[in-house]
């Protein structure tokens, strides 16, 4: 049980990553693939957070007397995740914009049918 408690975030992150990968690899619809990418990103973000997380830790701010650094979660992964979310949003927005354009030009979002560039 304690194993689950210690690693629940990792397991969740890993699960999300696998789900994301599965969607990317198996779906043909571009929108679904983009959703997969987004889930994959979320999984990774969760993973990053859990790297720095301490069970029952507090925010890394000396807001009250008596708080010691050992009780705080690591702030660095949170900063990383913040950046990574921003990047993720940018990629997501770009991907959706491209998807719209693609649909206009090709008339489909089925990636198998969008294969004029090959070999």
């Amino acid at each position: 049980m304690s194993f689950l408690q210690d690693y629940v975030y990792y397991i969740g992150a890993f699960g999300l990553v696998l789900i994301g990968l599965f969607i990317i690899l198996s779906r043909r619809n571009l929108i679904k693939v983009i959703i997969g990418l987004s889930i994959l990103d979320t999984g990774i973000n969760l993973f990053l957070i859990s790297v720095g997380y301490i069970s029952k830790g507090t925010a890394p701010i000396f807001s009250k007397p008596g708080l010691v650094a050992e009780d705080m979660v690591d702030p660095v992964p949170q900063a990383l995740v913040l950046t990574s979310i921003v990047i993720g949003v940018a990629v997501l927005a770009l991907a959706l914009a491209l998807a719209m354009r693609l649909h206009k030009l090709h008339g489909t979002l089925d990636l198998r049918k969008i294969g004029e560039l090959k070999w």
Binding site: I44, L98, R101, L117
Partner: protein, 489 residues
């Protein structure tokens, strides 16, 4: 002395000024990238002597090395930043004439962002910072590939984006793992502890990072996006993608493997991978009838050669690898630029449609020929000393395995020679279908091409001009302790 931070900050600032200037005058905004690249070029050249005598480490944020993000401007970094500034400058000159339709201010903004991302990647000494700059590079290149908004462009941009995002995700996971293992993101700090870490998570982290970066570096089999993206982007962007973007990806891989992980046991695997990449690239290029796709596959082949050379990991061969990198950047940029106007004038990317171009645009065709000769490695062009150095480095070892790999590399070179010379024959010696009117590229584009032609010939005849930088770059990669010592003091 100027601070290396300016190499990133000034172009970044200028990039966001482009839309503002564009509101006033679109014609004027075109010149911003030229100015920014020129600035970077000047600063890099100024920094060069100081860097060669002692690498410069800049701590951002005022804390000491492991705690804050730092820039590490060593010979490798300055070499790359010079190369980026140079290629960026030449291509932005070319783009003054070439990019005449569509949302041009956005093009110039994104173009500068791409260069900033590239410069950041090669100068930073922090793993996560590297990731961020890498994303800047990637995202702006996704957009630029689709710049024309045509069918092929959007299709390849989407494919590039999916693969690139997957690669970035793997990279980020790897970085997270590294942080989990070492509690630091500073490259030197990780490097110090890498030796004593648990090998399995360390390997997983390395595999994630190398594969993630390998997507951008176009290592086989991670390079499927490249032929599509390079062939459907505007030619100026193809030149930068081929000349800069994949080289920067390669830099990141090499930096990780050599400096951060010190994974000397991976090198023989990388050597095989390099030769495999080379052969796959050259064979695919041989079978192409589309000129830009051919050039794109040829880039894969060249990247394979560079990986092979660097993975041999003797100072001679790494010098050769870096030399090849320089000559590839110059030659491939030149090829794409020259091909760009030939395609523009003939209206098709088919090699057969370039018939008679030698007569219709003699100067452009001449520039193309110089690029091709250099890439194939014929004297007296820049590709010759680089191939010479690589093979000399590989054979100096004397092993039978390396001799075999050199044989394969030479085989790849023969194939490369065959398809490039086929194009040269088409351009110069096939009679075109009647159209004979002169239609030379505009003057500014010709200037940019002939800057590259001149560089290729000068470097080919006087390789000693750049060999000093390359030698110190090679020793920076080989001597990890120096790197660590410089950063952590």
């Amino acid at each position: 002395m100027v601070s290396p931070v300016l190499l990133i900050v000034i172009p970044l600032g200028l990039a966001f000024c482009v839309p503002l200037i564009g509101m006033v005058s679109k014609r004027f905004a075109r010149f911003v990238p030229v100015v920014a690249c020129l600035f970077n070029l000047v600063v890099s050249v100024q920094l060069l002597p100081a860097v060669l005598s002692k690498p410069i480490v800049v701590d951002l944020g005022g804390f000491g090395a492991p705690f804050s993000i730092n820039l590490f401007v060593g010979p490798v970094g300055i070499l790359f930043s010079l190369l980026i500034a140079l290629a960026g400058f030449v291509v932005s000159l070319y783009a003054l004439a070439y990019i005449d339709k569509g949302p041009t201010t956005r093009y110039h903004t994104l173009y500068l962002l791409l260069l900033v991302g590239a410069t950041g990647v090669v100068l930073t000494g922090d793993v996560f910072n590297l990731f961020v700059f890498f994303e800047i590079l990637c995202i702006s290149s996704y957009v630029l590939v689709a710049y024309r908004g045509d069918k092929d462009g959007v299709e390849s941009a989407v494919k590039y984006l999916i693969q690139g995002a997957l690669g970035s995700a793997l990279l980020l996971t790897g970085i997270g793992l590294l942080y989990g293992l070492f509690g630091t993101l500073n490259m030197a700090h990780i490097a110090v502890q890498a030796g004593s870490a648990d090998p399995i998570p360390l390997f997983v982290a390395m595999a994630l990072i190398v594969v993630g970066l390998g997507v951008e570096a176009a290592i086989f089999p991670l390079n499927a996006w490249l032929p599509d993206a390079h062939s459907s982007a505007p030619s100026s962007i193809s030149a930068i993608l081929s000349g800069i973007a994949i080289e920067v990806g390669l830099y990141a891989v090499v930096r990780m493997v050599f400096t951060v992980f010190g994974a000397s046991s991976m090198l023989s695997f990388l050597m095989f991978l390099g030769v495999l990449t080379l052969l796959v690239g050259e064979l695919c290029a041989f079978a192409q009838s589309n000129i830009k796709r051919m050039l794109a596959y040829s880039s894969i082949g060249q990247i394979g050669l560079i990986i092979f050379a660097i993975a041999i990991a003797t100072s001679g061969s790494i010098t050769g690898g870096f030399f090849q990198l320089v000559s590839h950047t110059l030659s491939k940029a030149l090829l794409f630029l020259a091909a760009g106007y030939m395609i523009y004038r003939s209206g098709s990317m088919d090699i057969s449609s370039l018939e008679g171009m030698g007569k219709r645009m003699p100067l452009t065709a001449f520039a193309f020929a110089v690029g091709a000769f250099s890439l194939v490695g014929l004297p007296p062009f820049a590709g010759f000393p680089s191939k010479l150095l690589i093979i000399r480095g590989a054979l100096a070892d004397g092993g039978a395995l390396l001799a075999l790999l050199v044989g394969l590399v030479l085989l790849g070179t023969v194939i490369e020679g065959a398809y490039f010379f086929r194009v040269i024959q088409t351009v110069f010696f096939k009679k075109g279908d009647g159209e004979t009117a002169r239609c030379e590229a505009p003057a500014i584009a010709l200037v940019s091409m002939f800057v590259l032609v001149a560089l290729i010939i000068v470097i080919g005849v006087y390789p000693s001009l750049i060999i000093g930088v390359l030698n110190s770059a090679a020793s920076e990669l080989l001597v990890r302790a120096d790197y660590i010592g410089r950063v952590l003091g």
